[in-house]
Every structure is written in C-alpha cells, then in structure tokens.
C-alpha cells in the first residue's frame, strides 16, 4: 500500500466525520460568553451595596443618638355602627334575624348626634371617659330625640354564637343587619379620639457589634446570620457566629 493510498483512505473516511457533542459544551460556551459576565456585574453591585451599608452604619453610629423611649402618635379611631331600624329585642328574636344579642356601649353624646340627623358623617369626637351605665334599649327606633342624660345600649345582631365581646374602638368595625323594610337606615358613626401614651422600651444599640447585627438581621433572615457580634459594651465587638453556607461557626 502506498502512502498516498493510505492518506486518501483516511482522508475520505475521516474528513467529514461527525460526532454529536454533549450539551455541556454549549453550556460552557454560553457561560463564557454571557453567564460569567452577568455574575461579575452582580458581584460588583453587591460590593457597592455592602460599602453603602457600612458607610451608613458608621454614620448612624457616630452622628445619631438612639432614643430609648418614644411616644406613639395620637391615634384616631373610627367606629362605624350601622343599625337598621331598631326593633324591640323581642321582635328581632321573633323574626329570626337575631341569633344572639350583644350589648354595645353607646356613649350618650354619639347617640345624641344620631338623633339629630340620619347621620352619615362624623361630626364631633366622643369623649370615651363619659360615665356609662348600660341600659338596654327596648323602645322602637332611635330616630327621635333621646334623653341626653342616659347612656344607651344599642342592640346589634351577630350571625353566629360567639362569646360576647366588647367592641374595641381601636379599629373600624361595622355592624349591619338586614333591613326590615324600605325605611331609611339610620347609621351611627362614632368617632373616638384617644391618646395612647405608652412608653415602649426599645432595645438600644450600644456597640458597633449590635449595630451591625441589626443591619445584618434586616438582610439575612436565616437563623444563623452571615456574621454575628456580641452586643455587650464590655466585651467590645467580638465575633460570635459565622455562617458562610458550608462553613458555620457559632460561639455559645
């Protein structure tokens, strides 16, 4: 066999030889051309974000004195009670619309407001400290003028048997009942104004470690944080825990 014959044999057989590459080849090419570049950008922005956090932390530490107590701002709570034509309790039970009864404290002033008009908007605040002596309503309706020196109890319906509970005026509550007829539905709107002076103790940040712990806790929701420092003033800011994913160190 001549050399040229051998060469041409191999040439003819192998010149157009094809073989399917595995998918990892294209993945490697795509990562090199696109993927790693994106990762580099992410790392760049993460490092910028970390720098900003550190600078802000340092600024807070040196220029901002933390407050140990604070006063909650005045809250204005509105309780809207929509009451249909008030029927005597006995009638409601009879008609089947009332399954339970509940006494609701209706301070004198608010009911007076209602009596002036079919109220749809709050006019004035109610002094919650008014003396209240519950007296059940058993007269039909409250559309007429009511005695202002007597506190009232309004009857409202509740769909299910529940433990009787007081209406807490800290959030808007609406009670509606099925209108018995086409008469105009009076609505009682009670606006209460209360000032809560609750001294709440806030855990102060006494050290750099505490500050960094607080910041990291905002970002890192894991039980073991990325890095944890002691918060004691005496101890300085020693590292007590480290969580790098695979590597976890926790000093008790």
């Amino acid at each position: 066999m001549q050399d040229k014959e051998l060469d041409s044999l191999f040439n003819s057989k192998l010149d157009d030889f094809e073989m399917e590459p595995s998918p990892k080849v294209w993945n490697g090419i795509a990562d090199e051309l696109h993927g790693k570049k994106g990762k580099r950008v992410v790392i760049y922005y993460l490092s910028v974000a970390a720098s900003v956090i550190i600078l802000v932390s340092a600024g807070l530490l040196f220029f901002n004195h933390t407050q140990n107590t604070f006063v909650k701002p005045v809250k204005q709570n509105k309780v809207a009670v929509k009451i249909d034509k008030l029927l005597p309790v006995g009638d409601r039970v009879k008609s089947g619309t009332l399954t339970t009864q509940r006494m609701v404290d209706a301070p004198v002033n608010s009911v007076t407001n209602v009596s002036k008009q079919a109220v749809n908007m709050p006019e004035e605040g109610v002094n919650k400290t008014a003396t209240e002596i519950p007296v059940p309503i058993n007269s039909p309706g409250i559309t007429g003028p009511l005695p202002t020196n007597k506190p009232l109890l309004a009857v409202v319906t509740e769909p299910q048997q529940k433990q009787p509970a007081m209406v807490v005026p800290s959030k808007a509550t609406s009670f509606t009942t099925t209108p018995a007829d086409d008469q105009q539905v009076p609505e009682v709107v009670i606006t209460t104004t209360e000032t809560i002076n609750t001294p709440v103790k806030k855990r102060g940040i006494h050290s750099v470690g505490g500050l960094i712990n607080a910041i990291i806790a905002k970002v890192d929701k894991r039980e073991d944080k990325l890095i944890e420092f002691t918060e004691d003033d005496e101890d300085g800011s020693a590292i007590t825990g480290l969580n790098l994913g695979l590597i976890k160190i926790k000093k008790q």
């Binding site: 066999m1 060469d7 010149d15 157009d16 399917e20 090419i29 051309l33």
Partner: protein
C-alpha cells in the same frame, strides 16, 4: 448557504457579531458535530475533544470580526479548531523527538479493498492510538492538507521532524490496519 428558512449564514454572522445568544446557538448547532469530528482526530478521547471544541467555539465567537468572508466559513472555523487542538497539545504534551525513518523501507501489504470497507470509527480509533506527535502531524498533512513547511511553523518543529513523524505514523497505521484486517477476516496479516 441557508441554515434556517429565514437566515442566511451572513445574517446569522451579523447577529452573532451583535452578541445575540440565540444566533450564536444556531451557528454552534450548525457546525458543532462536524467540528467535534475534527477535534476527535487530534484528541485522545471524546472528553478531550469536547474541551478543545468548547475553547474553539469561544475563539470563533470572540473573533468573528476577523472573518472577512474570504473562503468558506466552515473552512475558517475548521482552521480555528485545528489551531486550538495544536494549542491544547502544546500545553499538555511534550514533543517527542523522533528518529528519521526510511520511507522506502519494507512496507506491509494491505489490501485496499479491505481498507475501503473499514468503518470510519475504526480508523478514528487507530488514529487515537497514535502518540500525540504522530497523530498531530499525520492529521495535519494527510487529512487537513497542510504542507510540511506549514506544519513546521504551526507546531514549532523542523520540516525534517515533520516528515519523519509522518513516515513513522504511516508505518504504525499500516501495521494496525493489517491487524484489524486479520481480526475482521480471521487471519493474521
């Protein structure tokens, strides 16, 4: 040449130059199998060939601007693959000095008809069994059409060394072909 009903090779190249990932994937799929065939001839096994193929295509995409449209695009890619194969060889193997072989020595007798019926995979396995230096020179000269002068420049050896390695590679391949012929037909050559 039409790759897809809607794209010509030029359109695809322009999109690849713009960094469009989908176009790059289409171009890769168009030539990957053929280029792996090229890399396979220079590599020991498929794993090594795929490493070279990956680096080769990365070079292709990074240097698309240097393709001026002279000659076929396939020929341009193929040359890149060959150069990447040689580069890989240089990094991972040392050139073995080879003594000159008398090209007009005793040649084993091989029936050309038998060889013509041999499978491409069998021939590929014979090439893969050659030592890296022989394999490279034989591939460059016999299959990819490089001259000894070009081989000497590309690989960094003398022309004499290139000729010697080619002769030795041929001799080994002929012996292997005869052995394979004997296995196929039940007698030792």
């Amino acid at each position: 040449m039409l790759l897809k009903p809607t794209y010509t090779i030029d359109e695809l190249l322009n999109r690849c130059k713009a960094g469009e990932r989908k176009a790059q994937e289409l171009l890769y799929k168009q030539f990957a199998s053929k280029m792996l065939g090229v890399c396979m001839r220079y590599a020991i096994d498929k794993m090594e060939a795929e490493d070279v193929l990956q680096n080769g295509f990365i070079n292709v995409f990074k240097n698309l601007d240097s393709y001026r449209g002279k000659g076929s695009f396939e020929g341009w890619i193929r040359r890149i693959m060959v150069h990447c194969s040689i580069e890989h060889y240089r990094k991972h193997h040392k050139m073995m000095p080879v003594a000159d072989v008398d090209e007009k020595g005793n040649e084993p007798s091989v029936n050309p008809v038998v060889i013509a019926n041999m499978d491409a995979k069998d021939l590929m396995s014979l090439i893969n069994q050659l030592s890296p230096g022989y394999r490279m020179v034989f591939n460059l000269f016999a299959i990819d059409g490089y001259s000894h002068k070009e081989i000497a420049e590309i690989v960094g050896i003398t022309e004499g060394a290139s000729k010697s390695q080619l002769s030795r590679a041929r001799a080994i391949l002929k012996e292997q072909v005869i052995k394979m012929e004997g296995k196929i037909y039940g007698y030792a050559g």
